[in-house]
């Protein structure tokens, strides 16, 4: 079996299996624990509304915190949006997802994709620079932070390398490029899939659980979620 076939076949299946079972196990580890009953008289019983408010209201820092939190938040949004565009709007990725799920959608114009890649790479480097220079972030950071950064950046950079021809307006993207580079990119993405449930990338799903938990608890008290 060629390495590319391995990356496209058994390695991808194994990575996805590990990712989904890891996510399930991590969530099970949380939800298996008891939720202590709260006998206090609630100020509000609209707890689902509180959960939603908790999820939505923390998407952007409140004006009181904007002076300190806006730069980090904006930079975070840049690479999150950039990654979303790269993953869901680049034709080969749409094709890849279609192969797995049968679902497809039209891609965004190619210039948008290239701008997204550039912004993602720059903002990821800004995030790393911030992490290694800011005293608070330096103190808090551990292997998870740096390895997660590496895993994401590795997937993005190998993806860039796998595109053999630079973008030319009006010219359709060529078929998959050099097999070895595509293979390395696939393996890099599979490493990301495997790492996702174990490290801080898990915030992709934990963010809803955590914000929702506090949103409901604060709604119960009639406090800001």
């Amino acid at each position: 079996m060629e390495l590319l076939d391995f990356a496209r076949g058994p390695a991808l299946a194994a990575a996805l299996a590990i990712m989904f079972s890891g996510i399930a196990w991590r969530l099970f580890g949380i939800f298996r624990l008891r939720n202590q009953p709260d006998y206090s008289a609630p100020r509000s019983t609209a707890l689902w509304a509180g959960r939603l408010r908790g999820i939505v209201s923390r998407m952007w820092p409140h004006p009181e915190f904007r002076a300190s939190a806006t730069l980090a938040t904006t930079n975070g949004y840049l690479y999150h949006l950039g990654l979303a565009i790269i993953i869901f709007a680049y034709p080969p990725h749409i094709h890849f997802i279609e192969r797995l799920t049968g679902v497809r959608w039209p891609p965004l114009p190619e210039p948008v994709f290239y701008i997204a890649v550039a912004l993602t790479i720059v903002s990821l480097f800004v995030a790393l620079l911030y992490r290694i220079t800011d005293p608070v972030l330096k103190l808090l950071s551990n292997f998870d932070d740096y390895f997660t950064w590496f895993v994401v950046m590795f997937a993005v950079l190998t993806g860039m390398l796998a595109i053999e021809h630079p973008f030319r307006p009006g010219v359709p993207l060529p078929p998959p490029g050099h097999p070895l580079l595509v293979t390395v990119h696939l393996l890099a993405v599979e490493l990301l899939f495997i790492w996702l449930p174990f490290g801080k990338l898990a915030h992709a799903f934990l963010v809803f659980v955590s914000r929702g938990t506090t949103g409901a608890a604060m709604a119960r008290r009639g406090a800001r979620p």
Binding site: Q36, A41, F65, A69, L140, T213, A223
Partner: protein, 453 residues
């Protein structure tokens, strides 16, 4: 425990009441071997790990934004005061012993074991430099309730016998005498008789039946007795059927602040049982932030079932009385700024109640640059004001508060927490600051409609 009084005598003449033992960087209680202390701490923390707690412990993305919300970090710029860092040994213990991947972390020693030296070093971070104000919770993009986690970590520290001794001593005194500051039932009775005589006002004590049972903070009893008179003025003016009870008057809960759940429960049950004994429909909590959280939000859980009465902070009671027309106030033609007690506003959900009262007083309310739910803490909550070695850091944090209040240019500053007031009094004395923090209740009592000023 008989030597507590001699080892840690109360300093009743100091600007704020407490005992002094500032020399040690960390304190220890009991004679347990080191390994047992660590074991007790970690077992306690893991036992407390419910679903919400595990969610929070799994969710931190190390963004560091919580630092910018913490007055101790902002005042010092020392990264160790980053709120979520205060949980680091406990996060590690959870991941190693109880998290979904504990087997993996433990087998490969990826999360090293927590040591006693770490817990000792963390005592300062969990007690001296955290007021449990919850501002960090509000900024966290993952919504992690860091203040709640610090509360649980304090349980663990208590079990390890690693509580700052001054805080431990007042908590122990509260358990033994019913009050952390020597405001025993006998002292209360004497104070009430003295205040009733001195101010020619009726202050009912130990009525067998009453609609309303009033509780106090020992800080009010010992330092701000004017609050008791103010409370009596307001309730008597409204014609309320009320009483103080010598078997359940102390609303502060130093068991909760020190991390001793058993003492917390004892303090809470004293109030609940007294209220049940006199058939109170309403229990009024005093101008004290943590007392509100202890009964309003944690009381029923200590009791194990819903409370058979309504628990209201005094500011909520005043706001409701104004709204119903039972309480009529004279206009106060002054500019005023209000300091929100964290546990009543941000953590308690009663942010608007004092503002409704102030609106009824007709004051020119000048909000601070960050106010209401976003208010900066006075720096003395969570038991911090009792810990003398924390003073230098607390004073630096207090400077934020002074700047905020000065920026409003308001003639008056009031709050609805006696603990905040004593932190302000202490800061005022330290900085020779020309502002005095007043009481919302006393301001209301001084401006009752139809009564001489």
């Amino acid at each position: 425990m008989t030597d507590i009084n001699s080892q840690h005598p109360l300093e009743l003449d100091a600007p704020r009441f407490s005992v002094r033992k500032p020399e040690a960087r960390y304190d220890k209680q009991g004679e347990k071997p080191d390994a047992e202390r660590v074991q007790a701490a970690l077992l306690s923390f893991i036992k407390d790990c419910s679903r919400p707690i595990a969610t929070y412990l799994e969710s931190c993305i190390h963004c560091g934004q919580c630092a910018q919300a913490c007055h101790f970090y902002v005042a010092s710029r020392d990264p160790k005061y980053t709120p979520v860092w205060k949980l680091e040994p406990f996060k590690r213990a959870y991941q190693r012993e109880a998290g979904p991947f504990a087997l993996f972390f433990n087998a490969f020693n990826l999360k090293p074991e927590v040591t006693l030296a770490e817990l000792e070093a963390w005592q300062e971070l969990l007690y001296d430099s955290c007021t449990l104000c919850g501002r960090c919770t509000l900024i966290c993009p993952m919504g992690i309730d860091i203040a709640a986690l610090v509360g649980l970590a304090r349980h663990a520290m208590y079990e390890a016998g690693l509580v700052p001794h001054e805080l431990w001593a007042v908590a122990e005194r509260a358990e033994r005498e019913g009050s952390p500051l020597g405001a025993t039932a006998k002292v209360l009775k004497e104070r009430v008789e003295w205040l009733a005589d001195d101010h020619a006002i009726e202050i009912p004590l130990d009525k067998p039946r009453a609609d309303i049972m009033v509780t106090l903070s020992s800080i009010e009893i010992m330092k701000y007795p004017g609050s008791i008179v103010a409370l009596a003025r307001v309730l008597n003016a409204m014609g309320s059927d009320w009483t103080l009870r010598s078997d359940g008057y102390e609303a502060t809960n130093f068991g909760m602040l020190s991390g001793n759940s058993r003492w917390q429960k004892d303090s809470t049950l004293r109030i609940i049982n007294a209220a049940i004994a006199c058939g109170a429909q309403t229990v009024i909590l005093p101008e004290c932030g943590h007392a509100y959280g202890a009964l309003r939000w944690q009381g029923a859980n200590m009791y194990g079932k819903p409370l058979p009465f309504e628990a209201l902070h005094i500011s909520e009671f005043l706001a409701a009385s104004v709204a119903s027309g039972k309480l009529r106030l004279r206009k106060l033609d002054k500019s005023l700024t209000f300091h929100d007690p964290c546990q009543v506003s941000r953590r308690g959900g009663a942010t608007q109640a004092p503002r409704e009262v102030l609106k009824a007083l007709g004051v020119d309310l000048r909000e601070m640059p960050a106010s209401g739910d976003f208010n900066w803490c006075c720096g003395g909550g969570g038991g911090v004001v009792t810990i003398h070695r924390a003073d230098p850091l607390r004073y630096r944090a207090f400077e934020i508060k002074m700047r905020q209040i000065d920026a409003t240019g308001a003639e008056l500053a009031v709050t609805s927490c006696a603990n905040c007031r004593q932190s302000f009094d202490d800061g005022q004395a330290h900085f020779k600051w020309g502002r005095t923090m007043g009481s919302l209740l006393e301001t209301v009592a001084a401006n009752l409609a139809g009564q001489a000023q």
